[in-house]
């Protein structure tokens, strides 16, 4: 007792450092600083272009003060409607595909081969950014909203099926077991033993994914997959920053409205 109390000095106590050896600590710090300096050196920043770019950026910011909704209103309207349609269709299709994939990707439901297949599909969907998938589908099916819908549906699987599968793996086992003990068939067991336990999460995730899909629909449009993104891209190409500003304001407004309503609904069902 007394010997350990003597070894402990209350004034000198510090938490133990992440890296124990002081030499190694300095080495790591120096190495990192050196790397940063060299990396910055290879960037070859052209200060003249940065200067011109600042100018263009300023013009863009000025355009926000007087966004032009009217000149291209028909294009904007069509783009927005197309994006909304893409969002709704891809979210619905995505959910319809995600639910069976999630069942297959839950270790407590699926046999090993099915599990591996569904987990593989999810991993595939998650490992590619939407834009890359969109480029692939545009190459396959040409420009337009079909490529966008396919992209967003596929991306929805990676998101929704993964999180839903995790929720299914976390269910209360005896609730499900009690349903099995009544002599229920497998589909009845899913509907009575599993579904009620994961339904709030499924609804919450679906609403959340709806938001994401709308936002992404603007992004994938830039690579030619239809929607408001395509309209936005055209406006940039024509240096019509006032129209682009109008489009961005509309996107931000719609995303915020969707996020607000979906968080309201999610709070309701928890």
């Amino acid at each position: 007792m007394s010997s350990s109390a003597a070894a402990f000095d209350a004034r000198r106590w510090r938490p133990p450092p992440l890296v124990r050896s002081a030499r190694l600590r300095w080495l790591i710090g120096l190495g990192f600083a050196l790397y940063l300096a060299v990396a910055l050196g290879t960037l070859e920043i052209n200060w003249l272009r940065v200067w011109e770019g600042l100018d263009r950026g300023w013009a863009f910011i000025l355009a926000f003060s007087e966004p032009d909704f009217l000149t291209r209103w028909r294009d904007i309207r069509q783009g927005l409607l197309e994006s909304l349609t893409m969002t709704v269709v891809s979210t619905v299709v995505g959910i319809a595909l995600s639910v069976p994939v999630a069942l297959g990707a839950a270790r407590n439901l699926a046999p090993l081969p099915v599990y591996l297949l569904c987990r593989g599909l999810i991993a595939l969907s998650r490992s590619f950014q939407e834009v890359i998938i969109a480029i692939f589908f545009v190459a396959m099916f040409g420009f337009g909203p079909l490529a966008g819908v396919l992209t967003l549906s596929f991306a929805t699987i990676g998101f929704l099926a993964k999180l839903l599968a995790e929720d299914i793996e976390d269910i209360e086992r005896d609730q499900a077991e009690a349903v099995r003990a009544t002599g229920a068939s497998w589909p009845q067991w899913l509907v009575y033993g599993i579904q009620p336990q994961v339904m709030p999460r499924l609804i919450g995730l679906s609403l959340y994914r709806f938001d994401i899909n709308f936002r992404e629909s603007a992004v994938v449009g830039i690579v030619g997959a239809g929607g408001i993104g395509a309209t936005l891209n055209t406006a940039f190409d024509r240096y019509e920053y006032d129209t682009a500003a109008a489009i961005l304001i509309l996107i931000i407004g719609i995303v915020m409205a969707a996020e607000y309503t979906s968080s309201l609904i999610r709070a309701r069902i928890q």
Binding site: D174, A178, V179, T182, G183, S185, Q188, Y192, G193, Q197
Partner: protein, 274 residues
């Protein structure tokens, strides 16, 4: 014999030998209490009967039918003849009381009927009557997670009985309840078994509660039956055989009967039910 279990053995994949060749017969309408320390294999035993757990070897016959080899539809039909009641109630918490009770009819109705909650009116009426019988008639549209422990167990009892079972498998029905509610629940289960001539196996770790309500007691230890007989036979020596060394005089029936004038005959035991 209504239920005949012979040589029932269960080895879990982890290597635990939970049952070592258990033989047990239960007559129609007979209620038995299965006692034993935690880990003795009580839960495993009743789960092997309705095949929530697959037995490693041995036979289970229900009214002559071997149910250890059944698969698919035949297994589900066998399961609906056995109602199960759980320690933690195991109600589906986000469903209503009525939906929970009606889930006891799933073995009888088709998928789409159960999906749309369109159960036959006779089933709904039966479920409502049972809710009345367990004292929860006005609770049918409440969500299961709004109920107290004792109320949930009553719903669990109604769910098991709405199956029209021949046998009840009851796993520690009172282990999560206070002493008074425990007695009420035990009394309710035993009354219902008597009313309906139902056989039951009741796992229970409370020896006194078992002696109070049940006329035949089976003691399980380390996966083996070490006692099968009347509650009066649970002498301190027998309790030591079941549970291990401890001072059992307070739980042994002779001492208990003198102290509290508890039931000594089956008639008195049934009186206690009413």
């Amino acid at each position: 014999m209504m239920l005949e279990v012979t040589g029932l053995t269960k080895r879990y994949p982890t290597g635990d030998l939970a049952l070592k060749g258990v033989d047990l017969t239960v007559a129609a309408g007979e209620v038995i209490a299965l006692i034993g320390p935690s880990g003795a294999g009580k839960s495993t035993f009743i789960r092997c009967i309705n095949r929530l757990v697959e037995p490693t070897s041995g036979r289970v016959r229900l009214n002559g039918e071997d149910i250890t080899r059944l698969k698919g539809r035949a297994l589900r039909r066998a399961r609906r003849r056995m109602g199960m009641i759980f320690q933690e109630y195991a109600l589906v918490e986000r469903l209503t009381v009525m939906e929970n009770v009606l889930s006891g009819r799933l073995g009888y109705v088709g998928f789409w009927r159960s999906w749309w909650r369109r159960f036959p009116p006779e089933d709904v009426a039966k479920a409502y009557d049972l809710l009345g019988r367990v004292g929860l008639a006005e609770f049918y549209d409440k969500r299961a997670d709004e109920l107290s422990g004792g109320q949930r167990q009553r719903v669990g009892i109604a769910r098991a009985l709405v199956q029209d079972p021949e046998l009840l498998l009851v796993d520690e029905p009172t282990a999560s309840l206070d002493p008074k509610t425990s007695r009420q629940i035990m009394r309710l289960i035993c009354e219902l078994c008597r009313e309906r001539q139902l056989a039951a196996i009741i796992n229970i770790h409370d020896v006194v509660l078992a002696q109070m309500f049940v006329a035949r007691i089976v003691g399980l230890r380390d996966g083996e039956v070490v006692y099968d007989g009347r509650p009066e036979g649970l002498t301190p020596e027998v309790l030591t055989r079941i549970y291990g060394e401890e001072d059992w005089t307070a739980a042994a029936p002779s001492a208990r009967a003198q102290a509290r004038g508890g039931p000594e005959t089956d008639e008195e035991r049934l009186e206690g039910l009413v």
